[in-house]
């Protein structure tokens, strides 16, 4: 889901850079209000976890690969605004140091994986868990929060790819940037993540939540409050 340089037109990556800057500045303000010193090591660990989990490329039929992102579990444990910063830092280092995702696309990649995903995951989790603070319902809610969060992020990414042929074409009528139309890009991104990577994301989210509820129950942000 790491869009490289050259796949998005300036007309697309520009606004996404703007959106990312707005979300980063709000996220830093929210973290200042809500987090305390005890959370700091966990923020660092959350970002590192997200960096590492994205290295586990999983092959799927069709000859492509993909991976989980970890933004859902970070949102459940530390709040979605903290996840915005944690996952963004990891994505920015992936782009600058490892060339994974383009520099021009940092705004879009952060929007998809570090904004859309944690907020969708957190929303799904709170909606499905109701008042549950343990038991099967909590972990089903956690699984689906990771599953749906990743799938929605992938669909948004597919949409960004898919609008490129509509935005820019050369004199020969060929697309200038990502060449596949919406009718291909959106279903491909959606299906890959709904059938494969989302299941892994869901499993990771549920298992890690179980670990933290068992070992550090006071930490879990998503259980101590309902709001973001």
């Amino acid at each position: 889901m790491h869009i490289p340089d050259g796949y998005l037109s300036p007309l697309t990556y520009g606004p996404f850079w703007g959106a990312a800057l707005v979300f980063w500045s709000v996220a830093l303000k929210k973290m200042k209000e809500k987090l305390s010193f005890k959370h700091i090591p966990y923020m660092a660990m959350g970002a590192v976890f997200s960096f590492l989990i994205m290295m586990f490329n999983i092959p799927i039929p069709g000859g492509t690969t993909g991976h989980a992102v970890g933004a859902g579990i970070i949102a459940l444990l530390l709040g979605p605004w903290t996840a915005v910063i944690a996952v963004s830092v990891s994505l920015i280092i992936q782009a600058i140091v490892f060339g994974d995702g383009g520099l021009t696309a940092i705004g879009a990649n952060c929007f998809n994986m570090a904004v859309v995903m944690p907020f969708v995951s957190y929303g799904v989790f709170q909606w499905l868990r109701g008042k549950a603070v343990g038991g099967a319902r909590l972990y089903v809610a956690a699984f689906l929060s990771g599953y749906i969060g990743l799938a929605v992020a992938a669909i948004v990414t597919g949409f960004e790819f898919g609008i490129q042929p509509l935005i820019a074409a050369g004199p020969d009528g060929r697309p200038l940037y990502a060449p596949y139309p919406l009718a291909v890009a959106v279903p491909v991104m959606a299906l890959e993540h709904l059938l494969f990577f989302g299941l892994i994301e869901g499993l990771i989210t549920a298992l890690l939540l179980k670990y933290f509820v068992g070992h550090e129950p006071g930490l879990v942000y998503g259980l101590s409050r309902k709001e973001v």
């Binding site: 490289p4 796949y7 660092a44 976890f49 000859g63 490892f98 520099l103 200038l176 990502a178 491909v188």
Partner: protein, 113 residues
């Protein structure tokens, strides 16, 4: 650092050492790049041409460790596996310190419960 935090850090380091699975499994099943993350030549094989705008921007940035690979394009599998582990460890240090630094600067000591 609490003992629970120490355990979690150890878990993350173990993840870095397991990360080569992320190149070995795709290799075993002959899977290539993720959808939408092809290099210009791969894309040309798929659609028959390299989009002009994409060509212009694709080489914008030369990352110091492209594709988590220290050995360049022709690197042996062993070099790739070691590169992956080293990249994971580098990621732990850079990402960990950056987020630690950022949160140290903004989180106030009196905050929270």
């Amino acid at each position: 650092m609490t003992s629970s935090q120490k355990k979690l850090w150890i878990g993350l380091v173990i993840m870095a050492f397991l990360s080569p699975l992320g190149i070995l499994l795709p290799k075993k099943f002959r899977a290539g790049a993720a959808w939408g993350e092809w290099g210009p030549e791969e894309l040309e094989k798929l659609v028959g041409y390299i989009p002009q705008g994409l060509k212009k921007w694709a080489e914008l940035w030369r990352a110091p460790l492209p594709d988590y690979n220290l050995g360049g394009e022709g690197a042996s599998l062993t070099v790739q596996v070691i590169s992956y582990i080293v990249s994971g460890l580098i990621g732990i240090v850079i990402v960990g310190l950056l987020v630690y630094g950022i949160s140290r600067m903004i989180v106030r000591s009196g905050n929270g419960k």
